[in-house]
């Protein structure tokens, strides 16, 4: 029986391994394609000049990070809801892995935003609503990790973590809208409602294509990192269980 499970787990390990490798390669290729498209292929923004025109190219990374973080946090709330319904630890690991990946990509959003803001708005930091909302979001999820860390029992960790992740996600739209109404100088690229926002630009065909590459690349990046981390967490828990069995 034990040999059977062992060989079964070996096949599943090999399956995951292949998926992971494929994802990693795809991510690397997509990222290279994004660099090329963002720096060379996309036409410069016509209504901008000098530093601002150059800085605009970071927008593709910025938007990619933004989408990647959004997908990550959507995944985390999915994981937490499914965990609360099924109590399947795999879903708790999905929540944790998504949040950890989301924090990294979310920090990417904030950093690329700040780098772009220096030439465009002449400051790294402003109380721009999107900047505020994404920074608060990253802080909320860092609090999630701290909170988990402060709980000893593994199942309590999963349960309380899932409850907090649910609250965290629900607060994001409210944070976003209140920040938006509070104060806004951020260019809204797709709405057209806030074109007088400083540093705004019209979007052309090559730009749209580059944006799509960015979206795909960052979704792949999220999947690769998240699945890698998820498998690692799985091994950690399995190791812990073995240790428990050994000592009991």
């Amino acid at each position: 029986m034990s040999t059977q499970t062992l060989s079964a787990s070996k096949t599943s390990v090999r399956g995951w391994e292949m998926l992971q490798t494929a994802l990693n390669i795809a991510t690397a290729l997509a990222m290279a394609a994004l660099m090329w498209a963002a720096l060379l292929y996309a036409r410069p923004a016509l209504n901008l000049a000098g530093d601002e025109q150059l800085a605009q190219r970071i927008f593709y990374l910025h938007m990619g990070c933004n989408i990647g973080a959004l997908v990550a946090f959507l995944m985390s709330v999915t994981g937490s809801i499914v965990y609360l319904l099924t109590r399947d630890m795999d879903w708790d690991r999905v929540t944790q892995a998504s949040i950890e990946t989301g924090i990294i990509i979310g920090l990417g959003t904030v950093t690329t935003g700040a780098i772009w803001a220096k030439p465009a708005w002449n400051t790294f930091w402003t109380w721009d609503p999107r900047l505020t909302a994404s920074t608060i979001t990253v802080l909320i999820y860092i609090a999630y990790l701290l909170f988990r860390n402060g709980i000893d029992n593994r199942r309590t960790q999963a349960l309380f973590g899932s409850i907090y992740a649910l609250f965290a996600f629900l607060s994001i739209p409210l944070t976003y809208y209140s920040a938006r109404w509070f104060r806004s100088i951020h260019p809204v690229v797709f709405d057209g409602e806030n074109m007088e926002g400083q540093g705004g630009f019209n979007i052309g065909a090559t730009m749209t294509q580059t944006l799509w590459i960015a979206v795909v690349a960052f979704c792949l990046l999220f999947s690769a990192l998240m699945i890698m981390r998820w498998r690692q967490l799985r091994h950690e828990d399995a190791l812990e269980e073995l240790r428990e069995e050994f000592y009991s």
Partner: protein, 238 residues
């Protein structure tokens, strides 16, 4: 069904993080029966009490009270439990009477005032009923904790070391109360470190060693020396 055990515990296992606390406990207490749970500190007595009262969920196994489980009985099943635990489960800033009045509301008592008076008299705290629990001695707090547990006349009484902090008079009072409460409709499970009390007060004793019940014996015809021998032998590693 009605002749079956009032408290029925089957195959309970529980671990806290790495450490297994209960490793498959089976126990049945019939109506009208008093059973003592004996065991060293850390043997799992308190964890078992918490699981039977529904405060903690077992990893495996099932608890049934009068044939109903917490899964099917829901929160109404909690009416049938009276618990005395290591902590008094009382509010220090309220008086003895206010504490009982609060719990009378939570348990929907029909005639709360009469019932509170009965409970206060039963544990001999009537004269001190208006004083804050903060000012009570350890023994008085413990007696009020007992009054709280029996206030709603529960058919299942779980007493986790109810004699801690009680002087001889308090212990005698508790013994008398147990005899008075020992009716055909009630099952009592209690833990203690005092072997002669365990023998004298109960119908059966169960020995819990390292998360398992290793001995179950009737107290009929048992002497203190018998129980001591049993306890010593059970605790010895195999």
């Amino acid at each position: 069904m009605s002749n079956q055990a009032l408290i029925s515990v089957q195959g309970i296992t529980k671990r806290f993080d790495r450490k297994p606390v209960l490793r498959g406990v089976d126990l049945a207490v019939a109506p009208g029966e008093i059973v003592t749970l004996l065991g060293a500190n850390g043997a799992g007595k308190t964890t078992l009490m918490r699981i039977i009262s529904g405060l903690s969920a077992p990893d495996r196994g099932e608890v049934q009270l009068g044939g109903a489980s917490f899964a099917t009985g829901g929160h109404e099943l909690r009416r049938y439990i009276g618990l005395v635990s290591h902590t008094p489960l009382l509010y220090d800033n309220l008086s003895g009477e206010e504490n009982l009045a609060f719990f009378a509301r939570l348990y929907d008592l029909v005639e709360p005032q009469a019932r509170i008076e009965w409970a206060l008299h039963a544990v001999d705290l009537w004269p001190r009923r208006r004083d804050a629990v903060r000012t009570y001695s350890r023994g008085m707090t413990q007696r009020l904790a007992i009054a709280r547990a029996i206030l709603h006349n529960p058919p299942v009484l779980l007493l986790d070391e109810p004699d801690t902090g009680l002087d001889q008079a308090g212990a005698d009072l508790l013994h008398g109360l147990l005899q008075q409460l020992d009716t055909a409709q009630r099952a009592v499970l209690f833990t203690t470190h005092n072997l002669s009390r365990a023998r004298a007060w109960a119908d059966r004793v169960a020995l819990l060693v390292d998360g398992r019940i290793v001995q179950m014996a009737s107290t009929v015809g048992m002497t203190d020396a018998d129980l001591q021998k049993l306890y010593r032998e059970a605790g010895r590693p195999a």
